[in-house]
């Protein structure tokens, strides 16, 4: 038997201290996470207790005529029933896993087909804009919906500040990539970081907003803090969370869900009761808090405002 002497070990084969420490921390976190999951599954309901974060009021918010007057979904449901795969792929876990997520300081890179590329501190990005309350319906591709009082400002007004060039046909958004803070990114469920995109006219539409709050307060982490997109006539996954990059581009971007399953999630992903998800119907939805299902409306009920964006397009083909 050949016993290697220490000198036989190449320095390249020695694991760097930072790496194994990282690995240790990763395993500890993973073990902790696994324990939480086990505990949560043993005690059903534990994960649904709701985890409160410090709540910070947003002052000087204006009302908007674009808001719906439908009854609001309770704060507790909006902030505990979340699809935020960067934190966890289950619904109730993101609220807990994201509670210590650091959103300060936060910067947003603006680049691509713009005359004024820059790295903005979040405050500087928000400052010139008046905050508005926008009460929108949100329809998830899974077949449930909510009514959410967002606080934000029109994306179009922000984009104008960047001075898009004539080649800016689309806007591509990117979520933070940080597997230490976002444990969901340690598993390749989707391609990280999360990417979403809009056509320029969709991005400039007055209904499209960047949100920084809900219920008059700073956006909770699990809802996409500190800055997220809200496009109310599209399925929820288009409204990308925790944005760190806005890139204006010539070619149509490919979103993370579109990349994962192109036959199921199209670039447009406009809410449409007549175009089924390949695996389930989109004809009806369950409004959170309601017992019966209601009929899903074309463009999530925003057809009057947005249908002309898609005039002449085959919505079954461009789903």
């Amino acid at each position: 038997m050949l016993i290697k002497r220490a000198s036989d070990i190449k320095s390249s084969e020695i694991t760097a201290k930072t790496l194994y420490l990282d690995r240790r921390r990763f395993l500890q976190t993973a073990a902790g996470g696994a324990l939480t999951i086990v505990a949560a599954s043993l005690v059903p309901g534990l994960s649904r207790l709701g985890f409160a974060q410090s709540r910070e009021k947003l002052e000087g918010t204006q009302k908007s005529s674009l808001s719906t007057d439908e009854p609001l979904t309770p704060y507790k449901d909006i902030t505990n029933y979340n699809n935020f795969y960067e934190f966890d792929t289950t619904k109730y876990a993101p609220a807990e896993v994201a509670k210590d997520f650091r959103t300060k300081p936060w910067s947003v890179v603006v680049e691509g087909e713009v005359n004024k590329p820059a790295v903005y501190q979040l405050e500087d990005l928000i400052k010139p804009h008046a905050l508005e309350e926008r009460i929108y319906r949100l329809r998830c591709v899974e077949g449930w919906s909510m009514v959410i009082p967002w606080v934000g400002f029109p994306l179009g007004e922000v984009i104008k500040r960047f001075e898009p060039t004539s080649k800016a046909n689309y806007v591509e958004f990117t979520t933070l990539l940080d597997p230490v803070q976002m444990p969901g990114q340690r598993r390749s469920v989707l391609k990280w970081p999360y990417v979403e995109g809009l056509r320029m006219d969709e991005a400039m539409h007055p209904l499209t907003i960047l949100a920084v709050g809900l219920y008059g307060e700073v956006l909770p982490n699990q809802n996409g803090a500190p800055l997220r997109l809200v496009v109310p006539w599209k399925y929820g996954f288009k409204s990308i969370k925790s944005i760190v990059k806005i890139r204006l581009v010539e070619q149509q971007p490919v979103g993370s869900w579109e990349l994962a399953a192109p036959q199921e999630y199209g670039f447009y992903s406009n809410v449409n009761p007549d175009v089924s998800h390949p695996r389930w119907s989109q004809a009806r939805e369950r409004r959170i808090g309601e017992f019966s299902k209601r009929k899903t409306l074309l463009f999530n009920g925003y057809a009057d405002q947005v249908a002309q964006l898609y005039a002449g397009m085959d919505l079954k083909k461009y789903f």
Binding site: P44, G45, R48, K76, D77, N80, Y81, Y85, T89, K91, Y92, E142, W144, R187, V189, L190, W257, A260, A261, S276, R279, W280, S281, R286, I288, G289, F291, S292, K293
Partner: protein
Amino acid sequence: MMNTGKRPWLKVGVFGACLSPLVVLAWQALTHNLGANPIAEITDQTGIWTLRLLLITLAVTPARRLTGWNRLIQLRRMLGLLAFFYGCLHFLTYIWLDQFFVIDDIIADVMERPFITVGFASFALLIPLAVTSTTAMIRRLGGKWWQRLHRLVYAIAIGGVVHYLWLVKADIQQPLLYGGILAVLLVYRFWDMYGRRLLAGITPLRRAAVRR
């Protein structure tokens, strides 16, 4: 009725344990603790317990062989019927709370949505097994035919895992976990039926001849 002996505690205990998820679910429903989407929660819980109980039922024989604890066999029929019971609740949740008994929608769903097709087929196949689970029916069918019929449970369990796999959006970790457990149980069974004989170098036919 199979003789449970003078100590029915094992059976009673397991029965109670298997009903506890339903008790918890009912309690949560009564106290409004089913979360933001209670109907989705009920659907998920009844579905996952159907699959879990199916796998537990399938694990009875391997567990008995491996441990030599023969009393375990007394639990198999009850566990299978409990799986069927949760399957009924799951199906009822779907046709009532999800589809509100709109037959046309249900038929369209079963025909067009592969995950529902598989789930529905698996549930439908459980019915003859539940019906023939009584001692009288075992006698009427005869052990051999009864056993052949009840091998359907393997197809049903595979259907259950596929149903789960096809309904999740992207994170297939959980369905794969259940699939992995099922695979282990199936491999054990296969080895139990054919492997030992192959290992001994005797084909089933020759063994039958030898026995004669």
